[in-house]
Symmetry: C2
Subunit: 256 residues, 2 copies
């Protein structure tokens, strides 16, 4: 199973949109995909049309050992795509775990043990911070994809994110590395976007995916219908871009 976290502490850069739509397109290409929502805002769960009440099985109860994987896993409207949904309870975990000394970054990794036979791909959607929830995401995977908005602040926080990944690799999870950068929310009309993509290429070279995800209002509308964009509007730019990104991601499989 390929395990990938989608992380960037900068807010609103397309992490959830990427988890929902890339996950869906990979499932449509015949892979068995699991999404894990690690954000207390539960945007990924909502995007997939799933709302979980307080005290129902969720990422929180799974990590606390109150529910098993089987009790927590939910089907989505996409064949071959399942999700571990979250809710606001997860916001309490950060405080609860911070007083625990041992292994607080590995709760998620422990909770997801034994999944290799059931799924081909795991995507973890991280919240906009580098706190304990994102660290748990980074300790449960081997790869990190970073969506970058093609705007000025995009490269600002990147140094810190890459440094955090380096520290996680040296002290908590020796396998984890950044294997993909996604130019997200690309506005074809502005020179700023092209300049930022150029900048990213100079910093990250071959880790930048060829596929650029263009700004497309359909991507912003789809969550309102609780559906991924390829179900909402199959021929729009958003659907084309995430389908092409999914093919690029699969093409990397031979390296894993």
């Amino acid at each position: 199973m390929r395990r990938i976290a989608i992380a960037n502490q900068k807010g609103g850069v397309g992490k959830t949109t990427t988890a929902a739509n890339l996950g869906t397109c990979i499932a449509r290409l015949g892979k068995r995909v699991l999404l894990v929502d690690m954000d207390p805002q539960a945007n990924l769960s909502i995007h997939m049309g799933i709302a979980v009440g307080r005290d129902e099985p969720s990422t929180y109860t799974l990590m606390r050992g109150e529910n098993t994987l089987e009790e927590t896993l939910r089907d989505t409207m996409v064949e071959g795509l399942r999700i571990i949904p979250s809710n606001i309870d997860l916001a309490g975990l950060e405080v609860e775990l911070s007083t625990q000394s041992e292994g607080r970054e590995k709760c998620l990794a422990r909770a997801l043990e034994g999944l290799d036979e059931q799924f081909d791909y795991l995507f973890v959607d991280c919240p906009p911070s580098l706190g304990l929830l994102t660290l748990n995401g980074m300790c449960a995977v081997d790869e990190i994809f970073i969506p970058l908005q093609t705007e000025f602040f995009a490269l600002q926080g990147l140094g810190r994110l890459v440094e955090t990944v380096r520290r996680v690799r040296s002290s908590l999870n020796p396998k984890v590395e950044v294997t993909g950068i996604i130019a997200a929310m690309f506005d074809v009309r502005t020179s700023l976007a092209r300049e930022v993509v150029q900048d990213i290429k100079e910093h990250f070279g071959d880790r930048l995916f060829e596929t650029v995800v263009r700004k497309n209002v359909r991507l912003a509308e789809a969550p309102g219908f609780g559906a991924p964009v390829i179900l909402y509007d199959p021929d729009c730019y958003g659907s084309q871009d995430y389908r092409s990104l999914a093919l690029e991601v699969l093409a990397m499989d031979s390296k894993w």
Copy 2:
């Protein structure tokens, strides 16, 4: 002095852009304005062309009592606008304060005491979370402005933000209330944006500012030049919208 925090735990909705540009426009209308950067990403400081090295006076050293206000205050390129800049050290504060039992939400409020004579307006730029840094922001002000992206997820987290403000008011800061909602990053071409604005009006009525901040690439380019948009491109939509928002904010003064 009017004390206003700009908060929304949803990432990338225009908090920093609003702090930088609304602050600038109000200073241009003759008021003495102080900006406080409460985000370890320091996007507001960078937006105003200021970078603070580790261990230099910053929001972090001010709240820890290692520097005085005078040592921490910095001028900006805008006449009448000063800033307390931040840097990555602030990320450590959340963990350091969480082990302190008393008054950990009031560090910023204590650090800003005695400013009423020097400034007419205070704007605090909050990070994308409802953790200790944002709570400190909410305890140091009387008003909260919420920038809302006019997209589907906008209303998702709003209930939680309003609930957090209510809890802060009942247990930590009896004066604080949400007094302004800003429809930010409005895309005139999409019906989604108009629907969301309609939704916001139904929820918040007269607290929604008349001025809508339109999507405008100049607002995304300006931070790259370390300048507010009215200095970078005075006649663009971004400048027009923030100037008109500043007039609306001043018009509320009689209530304060």
